[in-house]
């Protein structure tokens, strides 16, 4: 397992920011320019042919020093994980997370790309794995991360008139946006909509 990380680090020293294997999941933190070449390398030379998943994490509410280090591990012997850096580090509010699988032995590799809020874009990986098409659309829909060069970057689960990106931590939890007006139902305000959060 660990040799995957070593190979990637050796081959792409200019892109790899960090490697770790928390809980046995090999994780590579990458500069965004490196995502396409590293995915292609993993697919063609390391056998990670099955594209599992693309998602993202908004680190906005993960305030540094807030709740994280409070909890001691329940079973220190089993738990060899290092606590990740918390919160928004250096303006990198989002983290786009890719998962790939090598089918022969079931090995998993996770790639993480930190993204700045003011430059919220990542090169698309659809050229390497066409299966990432819809997953990238979902990340765009839910987090507003743009995938440069994506052939069809539209919303996928929400409707086209939707305002905002619901899985961002500053999107209100009860901020419903019905497409049709629903009289008498009060919702939390949604940024970019009027105060009632009701439809136009």
């Amino acid at each position: 397992m660990a040799e995957t990380l070593a190979h990637v680090r050796e081959r792409f020293p200019q892109y790899v920011l960090d490697v770790a294997s928390p809980l046995g999941d090999d994780t590579i933190v990458l500069h965004r320019e490196g995502i396409v070449p590293v995915l292609a390398f993993l697919r063609d030379e390391m056998g990670f042919t099955l594209p599992l998943d693309v998602t993202a994490v908004d680190r906005l509410a993960m305030a540094p020093g807030k709740p994280a280090h409070r909890t001691p591990p329940l079973h220190p012997m089993l738990h060899t994980q290092t606590v990740p850096a918390l919160g928004v580090v250096d303006g990198h509010r989002f983290e786009v997370v890719y998962h790939l699988r090598r089918m022969a032995d079931g090995a998993l590799v996770r790639l993480k790309v930190p993204v700045r809020e003011d430059d919220c874009a990542v090169p698309t990986a659809t050229g390497v794995f066409k299966g990432f098409d819809w997953f990238e659309r979902e990340v765009y829909d839910m987090f507003g991360v743009r995938f440069e060069g994506h052939p069809n970057l539209r919303r996928i689960l929400n409707y086209p008139e939707f305002v905002g990106h619901p899985l961002r931590k500053d999107y209100p939890r009860r901020g419903h946006q019905p497409l049709l007006d629903m009289p008498g139902i009060q919702r939390d305000a949604v940024p970019g909509r009027d105060d009632t959060g009701r439809g136009r």
């Binding site: 809980l23 089918m103 998993l108």
Partner: protein
Amino acid sequence: MSDVATDTPRAQDPSRGEYTTINMGPSHPAMHGTVRIRLQLDGETIQDADIEIGFLHRGFEKMAEAGTWSQVIPYTDRLNYVSPLINNVGYVGAVEKLLGIDVPLRCQYVRVFVSEVARIADHLTAIGAQALELGAYTPFLWALQAREELYFLIEFITGARVTSCYTRVGGLRWDLPEGWQDRYLAAEKVVQKCQADMDALLTRNRIFIDRMADVGTIGPQDAVAYGFTGPCLRASGVDYDVRKNLPYLVYDRLDFDVPIGTKGDNLDRYLVRMEEMRQSMRLCQQVIRDIPEGPVNVDDWRVVLPPKDAVYNTIEGMIAHFEIIMKGIPVPAGEAYYAVEGGNGEVGFYVVSDGSGFPYRVHCRPPCFAIMQGLKDMIVGGLVADVIPTFDGINMIGGEIDR
């Protein structure tokens, strides 16, 4: 990009001839009310298709961030609502991975058992619906009758037919009730009879084969590139099953085979599902034979609720109960990805904790999301009528794909 995708009203490109655009769904009986396909047709042949999902989106991942770790479990019932028990097992597995705990052996066997029962119910529904929409109403009713027996069993075990909510972080809601083996064996007889009847009616049926064979074909390279998993991937001839390739729970101790197709068409997907049901019954039989006695929950009151006797009569029990209910289970900061083999393929949960009792992020990797991407390749070039068996062959579940 095609004109279907960009929403221009209709294609009339002189160089390509004249096409008709029609809407299939969301209010179409075969689209389950949750999918819309805009088809561009040349006569009856599909030139292009734009698949639109999201009609059943309920914000599962946003809701999951609102409660404690345990409060997510009922939401997972609603993902794949035909086999909710597998989602329960997958989600708590991810949280347990993050906690670094192993559940007791009996609990692992019980989780395997309920997963396999749910898988049989899932495949029965898929095959029955596929036959129904090709005009064979009888097998559908048989399948639902057999599925109902399994739902009675699930109700007997969990207290609910569909919204099972059976697993807990660190164990189960309760152990299997007295007499579960006999109940299962009675249900299995009904399922076997139903399967034999369906087999006799469908597998060598000329009409059924004509509609299924060489329709909706997808090759192994394409299937893998699209991220197919589960029966759809195996029907294309790729040997990948989460239960075999990275065994979780006690699947490595049990004996079962993974059926593989050759052509990746609808008939192969049907045959793979038929065989998987037999293998699931084999697994259930082995669980009945091998299941050990013992506790089903880990012995740690920081994770599992204490017994009611201790809650009412001891201060420690009451505090532990209060802490779990009010503050949630203290999951260490970190992230984990945990996968189980669902009815449609690899159901993965990616969970992130910031060290509190509330999930920071819960993401579900739904298998049919990836498979629905490939539907376009499977239907383009075919006839409109072939959309129906192909769409049913991938067994799209609205609750799972739209979350």
